[in-house]
Symmetry: D2
Amino acid sequence: MTDAPNLALAQKVLAAQPFSNLLGARLVAFTEGEATLELDIRDDLRQQNGFLHGGVLAYAADNTLTFAAGTVIDAKLLTAGFTIDYLRPADGALLRAHAQVVRAGRSRVVCCRCDLSVVDSAGVETLCTVAQGTIAVPEPSQGT
Amino acid sequence: MTDAPNLALAQKVLAAQPFSNLLGARLVAFTEGEATLELDIRDDLRQQNGFLHGGVLAYAADNTLTFAAGTVIDAKLLTAGFTIDYLRPADGALLRAHAQVVRAGRSRVVCCRCDLSVVDSAGVETLCTVAQGTIAVPEPSQGT
Amino acid sequence: MTDAPNLALAQKVLAAQPFSNLLGARLVAFTEGEATLELDIRDDLRQQNGFLHGGVLAYAADNTLTFAAGTVIDAKLLTAGFTIDYLRPADGALLRAHAQVVRAGRSRVVCCRCDLSVVDSAGVETLCTVAQGTIAVPEPSQGT
Amino acid sequence: MTDAPNLALAQKVLAAQPFSNLLGARLVAFTEGEATLELDIRDDLRQQNGFLHGGVLAYAADNTLTFAAGTVIDAKLLTAGFTIDYLRPADGALLRAHAQVVRAGRSRVVCCRCDLSVVDSAGVETLCTVAQGTIAVPEPSQGT
């Protein structure tokens, strides 16, 4: 919409999120219409059965959906909401969340989808969760 | 379905979730069809604008929906998925998530709704997020 | 937001929807923050097993959520999206969908919830489906 | 899971749905993991502003998601629920809904995504709505 997506700038936004730091999230891709976030599956991110807690998956969906929207909208963004479906228990070395813009919709809203996979120590990736969400541009007077 | 909901037992399940400990979540109510979870809004749970991170709200929705289902189903449960709508930026001293069973649905699934509010230091509660989700009973052969 | 909700006016809007006429929908309540829509469960609204088709329930959720938002926002509205959870197969004489505004959220969006029940010939009402959705106010310059 | 997807058989199921007949829906593809449903955008399927009614889109999402699940699960299926995001007003000659299985998840549930497009008289296709849903296999004792 304005400049090309800037990974370094987006990483600064992520670094300014204390909760993302607490979870150890890293933004590893930020290109036109797509963003990828990763985090190591540490033991303090698990639930009672040893799997990655659904709340970590939901965090990753929320944040990656919003960063994906940020690749096409150069403005302050607010996640309006999202739906998440857990497909299987998540375990492995790494969580990788990849979101793509479906399109900028009506009502100043961007719709995105996100695939969340776990990657084991051998690099094998397994899809474990999918999400779909909408991100709003809250200030219509900013000349977008 | 079998015994009355047991708060102390449910609190043990929560205590066995490392991620819930990391976030400081407390289960404060667990009665027939309802569960309430709270956590203090610490600075390391915020996003870049100083509000509570959406991922914390999503964690609380996920977990409270599942505990609410656990008040009526005495079996291992898996959150199948949920939808979350953020109504306003969340700030305050405390996050309170309250979920209620809508009803045990077809296909061994329990549907619940969750209201998430922030409570300020004066005790004023403001609804900031709503969620709706389904929780599945994964093992049909357990005689439930 | 401006005038009190006007049932007769809202019924005119419904009457101007050819698809609502095809399904025989009636708007029976339209008060501050709430709307109720009903339709007779005719045989041509069923699926292959004799139950009300999920698409009819989804239609009723979509429309009732939007009318509920219309009770608090006096402007053109667009349903941004919704989530629907089917709790049990729906059968009976009448479908009744009742939606309530949760609150007008950030980003010019109204969030509503909807309970869909079937009513049998004896008047007994059974909840069969729940929905949660967001309705957007698309034109920010209209002086709302 | 058993036999290859059978388009003719699936079309018989669709033909046995009175509501699908009322709307004029046609199942045009039914292959491993994918289903496509189409319907002509008749005037009686519109809302008050002349666009296709959201309820028709929701019907098409519901049904196509379930048929897509039916390409991989040879059993009675129930749509557990879905989320739909409307991206733009829908108008044109034809509605085409295409759903794909994401994967068969935990708890005997299949998760699918659906893209809904309108096609104009020149054959130009425009994405207008996206959905994500879960379909349950209700009878665990059938030896699947």
